[in-house]
Amino acid sequence: MIHSVFIINRSGGLIYNKNYSTHIAQLSSNEALIFAGTFHGIHALASRIAPTGNATGAKDTGIQTIDTMNFRLHCFQTPTGIKFIAATDLLHTTLTDVLTKVYELYCDYALKSPFYNLEMPVRSDLFDANMLHLVQQY
Protein backbone atom coordinates (compact mmCIF):
# COMPACT_ATOMS: atom_id res chain seq x y z
CA MET A 1 0.00 0.00 0.00
CA ILE A 2 1.71 3.16 -1.19
CA HIS A 3 0.54 6.13 0.85
CA SER A 4 2.12 9.02 -0.98
CA VAL A 5 4.75 9.97 -3.54
CA PHE A 6 7.03 13.00 -3.63
CA ILE A 7 9.42 14.15 -6.33
CA ILE A 8 12.24 16.53 -5.40
CA ASN A 9 14.29 18.34 -8.02
CA ARG A 10 18.05 18.88 -7.99
CA SER A 11 17.95 22.01 -5.87
CA GLY A 12 15.70 20.55 -3.19
CA GLY A 13 12.38 22.01 -4.34
CA LEU A 14 9.23 19.90 -4.34
CA ILE A 15 7.89 19.31 -7.83
CA TYR A 16 5.30 16.61 -7.24
CA ASN A 17 3.31 15.66 -4.18
CA LYS A 18 0.37 13.25 -4.16
CA ASN A 19 -1.48 11.29 -1.51
CA TYR A 20 -3.04 8.00 -2.46
CA SER A 21 -4.50 6.99 0.92
CA THR A 22 -7.53 8.78 2.20
CA HIS A 23 -7.49 7.44 5.74
CA ILE A 24 -4.20 9.01 6.79
CA ALA A 25 -3.55 12.62 7.76
CA GLN A 26 -2.76 14.85 4.79
CA LEU A 27 0.20 17.22 4.73
CA SER A 28 -0.62 20.82 3.95
CA SER A 29 1.22 22.21 0.92
CA ASN A 30 3.50 24.28 3.15
CA GLU A 31 4.41 21.26 5.26
CA ALA A 32 5.14 19.28 2.11
CA LEU A 33 7.56 21.95 0.89
CA ILE A 34 9.32 21.99 4.25
CA PHE A 35 9.52 18.20 4.22
CA ALA A 36 11.11 18.25 0.76
CA GLY A 37 13.74 20.78 1.75
CA THR A 38 14.56 18.96 4.98
CA PHE A 39 14.83 15.60 3.28
CA HIS A 40 17.09 17.04 0.60
CA GLY A 41 19.37 18.35 3.34
CA ILE A 42 19.62 15.16 5.37
CA HIS A 43 20.09 13.10 2.21
CA ALA A 44 23.09 15.23 1.31
CA LEU A 45 24.46 14.94 4.85
CA ALA A 46 24.10 11.16 4.85
CA SER A 47 26.02 10.74 1.62
CA ARG A 48 28.87 12.91 2.94
CA ILE A 49 29.33 11.35 6.39
CA ALA A 50 29.39 7.75 5.11
CA PRO A 51 32.35 6.15 6.94
CA THR A 52 33.53 3.98 4.06
CA GLY A 53 33.10 4.28 0.31
CA ASN A 54 32.40 1.15 -1.72
CA ALA A 55 35.08 -0.77 -3.61
CA THR A 56 35.34 1.61 -6.57
CA GLY A 57 35.71 4.61 -4.29
CA ALA A 58 32.46 6.14 -5.56
CA LYS A 59 30.38 8.45 -3.43
CA ASP A 60 27.80 6.97 -1.14
CA THR A 61 24.28 6.93 -2.59
CA GLY A 62 22.64 8.49 0.45
CA ILE A 63 19.50 7.52 2.32
CA GLN A 64 17.55 4.67 0.80
CA THR A 65 14.90 3.91 3.44
CA ILE A 66 13.77 5.40 6.72
CA ASP A 67 11.87 3.03 9.02
CA THR A 68 9.37 4.11 11.63
CA MET A 69 6.83 2.24 13.69
CA ASN A 70 3.95 2.74 11.29
CA PHE A 71 5.41 3.36 7.87
CA ARG A 72 8.54 3.27 5.75
CA LEU A 73 9.95 6.02 3.58
CA HIS A 74 11.80 4.96 0.42
CA CYS A 75 14.07 7.17 -1.61
CA PHE A 76 15.49 6.64 -5.09
CA GLN A 77 17.98 9.14 -6.48
CA THR A 78 18.60 9.33 -10.21
CA PRO A 79 22.01 10.10 -11.71
CA THR A 80 20.68 13.57 -12.54
CA GLY A 81 19.98 14.39 -8.89
CA ILE A 82 16.18 14.00 -8.83
CA LYS A 83 14.83 12.14 -5.81
CA PHE A 84 11.73 9.99 -5.93
CA ILE A 85 10.29 9.40 -2.47
CA ALA A 86 7.45 7.11 -1.49
CA ALA A 87 5.84 6.57 1.89
CA THR A 88 4.48 3.05 2.22
CA ASP A 89 3.33 0.67 4.91
CA LEU A 90 5.78 -1.76 6.48
CA LEU A 91 5.00 -4.61 4.09
CA HIS A 92 7.22 -3.18 1.36
CA THR A 93 10.89 -3.68 2.19
CA THR A 94 12.27 -2.16 -0.97
CA LEU A 95 10.56 -0.04 -3.58
CA THR A 96 13.36 0.59 -6.06
CA ASP A 97 11.52 -1.11 -8.93
CA VAL A 98 8.35 0.93 -8.37
CA LEU A 99 10.32 4.15 -8.04
CA THR A 100 12.19 3.29 -11.24
CA LYS A 101 8.82 2.99 -12.97
CA VAL A 102 7.84 6.38 -11.55
CA TYR A 103 11.08 7.73 -13.00
CA GLU A 104 10.09 6.27 -16.38
CA LEU A 105 6.66 7.92 -16.18
CA TYR A 106 8.31 11.21 -15.27
CA CYS A 107 10.63 10.93 -18.29
CA ASP A 108 7.69 10.12 -20.56
CA TYR A 109 4.88 12.41 -19.52
CA ALA A 110 6.76 15.33 -18.02
CA LEU A 111 10.01 15.61 -19.98
CA LYS A 112 8.45 14.91 -23.39
CA SER A 113 5.67 17.43 -22.96
CA PRO A 114 6.40 20.82 -24.55
CA PHE A 115 4.50 22.60 -21.78
CA TYR A 116 6.67 21.41 -18.93
CA ASN A 117 9.58 23.58 -17.80
CA LEU A 118 12.47 21.81 -16.09
CA GLU A 119 12.68 21.97 -12.29
CA MET A 120 9.14 23.35 -12.11
CA PRO A 121 6.15 21.56 -10.49
CA VAL A 122 4.77 18.83 -12.70
CA ARG A 123 1.26 19.69 -13.93
CA SER A 124 0.32 16.98 -16.39
CA ASP A 125 -2.98 15.12 -16.47
CA LEU A 126 -1.43 12.15 -18.25
CA PHE A 127 1.27 11.89 -15.58
CA ASP A 128 -1.32 11.97 -12.77
CA ALA A 129 -3.49 9.37 -14.46
CA ASN A 130 -0.60 6.98 -15.09
CA MET A 131 0.75 7.46 -11.55
CA LEU A 132 -2.66 6.57 -10.10
CA HIS A 133 -2.76 3.48 -12.26
CA LEU A 134 0.75 2.46 -11.15
CA VAL A 135 0.16 3.05 -7.45
CA GLN A 136 -3.08 1.11 -7.44
CA GLN A 137 -1.18 -2.03 -8.41
CA TYR A 138 0.76 -2.01 -5.12
Binding site: D108, Y109, K112, S113, P114, F115, S124, L126, F127
Partner: protein, 210 residues
Protein backbone atom coordinates in the same frame (compact mmCIF):
# COMPACT_ATOMS: atom_id res chain seq x y z
CA UNK B 1 61.60 14.21 -42.41
CA UNK B 2 59.66 15.07 -45.56
CA UNK B 3 58.49 11.49 -46.01
CA UNK B 4 57.19 11.24 -42.42
CA UNK B 5 55.28 14.48 -42.91
CA UNK B 6 53.90 13.07 -46.12
CA UNK B 7 52.94 9.93 -44.23
CA UNK B 8 51.15 12.06 -41.63
CA UNK B 9 49.14 14.00 -44.19
CA UNK B 10 48.35 10.78 -45.99
CA UNK B 11 47.08 9.25 -42.76
CA UNK B 12 44.95 12.30 -42.10
CA UNK B 13 43.52 12.16 -45.60
CA UNK B 14 42.76 8.50 -45.14
CA UNK B 15 40.87 9.25 -41.94
CA UNK B 16 39.01 12.01 -43.75
CA UNK B 17 37.87 9.73 -46.54
CA UNK B 18 36.74 7.20 -43.94
CA UNK B 19 34.43 9.82 -42.44
CA UNK B 20 33.06 10.94 -45.78
CA UNK B 21 32.73 7.34 -46.88
CA UNK B 22 30.49 6.66 -43.89
CA UNK B 23 28.27 9.67 -44.53
CA UNK B 24 27.97 9.07 -48.27
CA UNK B 25 27.06 5.46 -47.55
CA UNK B 26 24.14 6.73 -45.51
CA UNK B 27 22.96 8.79 -48.48
CA UNK B 28 23.48 5.90 -50.86
CA UNK B 29 21.24 3.50 -49.00
CA UNK B 30 18.41 2.37 -51.24
CA UNK B 31 15.17 4.29 -50.79
CA UNK B 32 13.06 1.16 -51.15
CA UNK B 33 14.05 -0.58 -47.97
CA UNK B 34 13.40 -4.27 -47.57
CA UNK B 35 12.58 -4.47 -43.91
CA UNK B 36 10.47 -2.15 -41.81
CA UNK B 37 12.74 0.50 -40.28
CA UNK B 38 11.54 1.97 -37.03
CA UNK B 39 12.35 5.41 -35.67
CA UNK B 40 12.60 5.80 -31.91
CA UNK B 41 9.35 7.29 -30.62
CA UNK B 42 11.13 8.88 -27.66
CA UNK B 43 13.58 10.65 -29.97
CA UNK B 44 10.76 11.98 -32.12
CA UNK B 45 8.68 12.97 -29.08
CA UNK B 46 11.57 15.11 -27.80
CA UNK B 47 12.00 16.64 -31.26
CA UNK B 48 8.28 17.43 -31.57
CA UNK B 49 8.18 18.91 -28.06
CA UNK B 50 11.07 21.20 -28.95
CA UNK B 51 9.39 22.15 -32.26
CA UNK B 52 6.26 23.16 -30.35
CA UNK B 53 8.28 25.16 -27.82
CA UNK B 54 10.22 26.83 -30.64
CA UNK B 55 7.08 27.93 -32.47
CA UNK B 56 5.44 28.99 -29.23
CA UNK B 57 8.18 31.55 -28.71
CA UNK B 58 7.55 33.05 -32.14
CA UNK B 59 3.79 33.39 -32.27
CA UNK B 60 1.09 35.28 -30.42
CA UNK B 61 -1.93 33.11 -29.87
CA UNK B 62 -3.16 29.57 -30.29
CA UNK B 63 -4.39 30.01 -33.89
CA UNK B 64 -0.96 31.19 -34.98
CA UNK B 65 0.69 28.28 -33.17
CA UNK B 66 -1.54 25.77 -34.93
CA UNK B 67 -0.94 27.50 -38.28
CA UNK B 68 2.85 27.35 -37.84
CA UNK B 69 2.77 23.67 -36.86
CA UNK B 70 0.51 23.05 -39.84
CA UNK B 71 3.14 24.66 -42.06
CA UNK B 72 5.87 22.43 -40.60
CA UNK B 73 3.68 19.42 -41.22
CA UNK B 74 3.13 20.44 -44.83
CA UNK B 75 6.85 20.25 -45.52
CA UNK B 76 6.91 16.74 -44.11
CA UNK B 77 3.77 15.75 -46.00
CA UNK B 78 5.16 16.47 -49.47
CA UNK B 79 8.18 14.29 -48.82
CA UNK B 80 6.17 11.52 -47.18
CA UNK B 81 3.89 11.46 -50.22
CA UNK B 82 6.79 11.10 -52.68
CA UNK B 83 8.41 8.40 -50.55
CA UNK B 84 5.18 6.44 -50.17
CA UNK B 85 4.54 6.60 -53.90
CA UNK B 86 7.98 5.22 -54.69
CA UNK B 87 7.93 2.53 -51.97
CA UNK B 88 4.44 1.10 -52.25
CA UNK B 89 4.16 -0.74 -55.54
CA UNK B 90 0.43 -1.38 -55.44
CA UNK B 91 -0.89 2.17 -55.21
CA UNK B 92 -1.40 4.88 -57.73
CA UNK B 93 -2.08 8.54 -57.03
CA UNK B 94 -5.76 9.04 -56.33
CA UNK B 95 -7.52 12.11 -57.65
CA UNK B 96 -11.06 11.41 -56.46
CA UNK B 97 -11.96 12.63 -53.00
CA UNK B 98 -13.17 9.38 -51.45
CA UNK B 99 -10.32 7.26 -52.82
CA UNK B 100 -7.81 9.82 -51.64
CA UNK B 101 -9.30 9.80 -48.14
CA UNK B 102 -9.09 6.02 -48.00
CA UNK B 103 -5.49 6.25 -49.22
CA UNK B 104 -4.61 8.68 -46.40
CA UNK B 105 -6.54 6.66 -43.86
CA UNK B 106 -4.72 3.43 -44.59
CA UNK B 107 -1.50 3.75 -46.60
CA UNK B 108 -0.20 7.08 -45.30
CA UNK B 109 -1.10 6.36 -41.69
CA UNK B 110 0.61 2.98 -41.92
CA UNK B 111 3.75 4.56 -43.37
CA UNK B 112 3.86 7.16 -40.61
CA UNK B 113 2.41 5.47 -37.52
CA UNK B 114 2.44 1.73 -38.31
CA UNK B 115 -1.36 1.40 -37.99
CA UNK B 116 -4.33 2.68 -39.95
CA UNK B 117 -6.46 5.56 -38.70
CA UNK B 118 -9.41 4.58 -36.58
CA UNK B 119 -12.30 6.01 -38.55
CA UNK B 120 -13.23 8.07 -41.58
CA UNK B 121 -16.53 9.92 -41.50
CA UNK B 122 -18.38 12.44 -43.56
CA UNK B 123 -19.87 15.36 -41.69
CA UNK B 124 -23.66 15.46 -41.66
CA UNK B 125 -23.89 19.23 -41.47
CA UNK B 126 -21.84 20.24 -44.54
CA UNK B 127 -21.14 17.94 -47.43
CA UNK B 128 -17.60 19.20 -48.08
CA UNK B 129 -16.27 18.21 -44.62
CA UNK B 130 -14.71 14.87 -43.78
CA UNK B 131 -13.17 13.67 -40.52
CA UNK B 132 -10.32 11.25 -39.88
CA UNK B 133 -10.12 10.07 -36.28
CA UNK B 134 -7.14 8.66 -34.47
CA UNK B 135 -7.77 7.37 -30.97
CA UNK B 136 -4.17 7.53 -29.84
CA UNK B 137 -1.74 9.25 -32.22
CA UNK B 138 1.59 7.82 -31.14
CA UNK B 139 3.54 11.05 -31.55
CA UNK B 140 1.12 12.97 -29.32
CA UNK B 141 1.03 10.35 -26.60
CA UNK B 142 3.18 12.25 -24.12
CA UNK B 143 1.88 15.77 -24.62
CA UNK B 144 -0.50 17.13 -22.00
CA UNK B 145 -1.93 20.52 -22.82
CA UNK B 146 -2.42 22.84 -19.81
CA UNK B 147 -5.91 24.06 -18.95
CA UNK B 148 -5.32 27.62 -20.14
CA UNK B 149 -4.61 26.38 -23.66
CA UNK B 150 -7.41 23.85 -23.75
CA UNK B 151 -8.39 24.62 -27.35
CA UNK B 152 -4.90 23.91 -28.70
CA UNK B 153 -4.48 20.61 -30.47
CA UNK B 154 -0.88 19.49 -31.05
CA UNK B 155 -2.25 17.34 -33.90
CA UNK B 156 -1.87 20.48 -36.01
CA UNK B 157 1.39 18.90 -37.18
CA UNK B 158 -0.51 15.87 -38.47
CA UNK B 159 -3.13 18.10 -40.10
CA UNK B 160 -0.31 19.81 -42.01
CA UNK B 161 0.88 16.46 -43.35
CA UNK B 162 -2.67 15.61 -44.48
CA UNK B 163 -3.17 19.05 -46.03
CA UNK B 164 -0.11 18.79 -48.27
CA UNK B 165 -0.98 15.21 -49.32
CA UNK B 166 -4.48 16.40 -50.26
CA UNK B 167 -2.92 19.18 -52.32
CA UNK B 168 -0.59 16.68 -54.04
CA UNK B 169 -3.65 14.60 -54.96
CA UNK B 170 -5.25 17.65 -56.59
CA UNK B 171 -7.96 17.91 -53.93
CA UNK B 172 -6.91 21.01 -52.00
CA UNK B 173 -8.53 21.37 -48.60
CA UNK B 174 -8.27 23.34 -45.41
CA UNK B 175 -7.28 20.84 -42.74
CA UNK B 176 -7.50 21.43 -39.02
CA UNK B 177 -7.04 19.24 -36.00
CA UNK B 178 -9.27 19.03 -32.93
CA UNK B 179 -8.65 17.29 -29.64
CA UNK B 180 -11.75 15.30 -28.72
CA UNK B 181 -10.91 13.20 -25.66
CA UNK B 182 -13.23 10.38 -24.71
CA UNK B 183 -13.17 7.93 -21.81
CA UNK B 184 -10.06 5.83 -22.08
CA UNK B 185 -8.54 7.85 -24.94
CA UNK B 186 -7.33 11.17 -23.50
CA UNK B 187 -5.31 12.04 -26.61
CA UNK B 188 -7.96 11.30 -29.23
CA UNK B 189 -7.59 13.63 -32.21
CA UNK B 190 -9.96 14.38 -35.10
CA UNK B 191 -8.49 15.71 -38.36
CA UNK B 192 -11.12 17.78 -40.16
CA UNK B 193 -10.76 18.30 -43.93
CA UNK B 194 -12.80 21.03 -45.58
CA UNK B 195 -12.46 20.70 -49.34
CA UNK B 196 -12.37 23.72 -51.63
CA UNK B 197 -15.41 24.65 -53.68
CA UNK B 198 -13.78 23.66 -57.01
CA UNK B 199 -13.10 20.17 -55.68
CA UNK B 200 -16.72 19.61 -54.70
CA UNK B 201 -18.00 20.99 -57.99
CA UNK B 202 -15.58 18.75 -59.89
CA UNK B 203 -16.79 15.75 -57.90
CA UNK B 204 -20.39 16.57 -58.71
CA UNK B 205 -19.58 16.84 -62.43
CA UNK B 206 -17.69 13.53 -62.40
CA UNK B 207 -20.54 11.82 -60.58
CA UNK B 208 -23.12 13.22 -63.00
CA UNK B 209 -20.96 12.29 -66.02
CA UNK B 210 -20.87 8.64 -64.93
Amino acid sequence: MASSQQQQTQNMLRLDTKQTKRSTMLLEQPVTRQRRDKVSLSAFAFLLAEMIRYTQNRVLGIQDLEAKLNELGQRVGVRVFELTMSREKTVRRETRVLQMLVFINSVVWRTLFDKSADSLERSTESEDEYMITDNEPAILKYISVPKEMASFSPGAFISGIVESIAACCQCPARVTSHAVPVDGFPVRTVILLKFDKEVMEREKRLEAGK
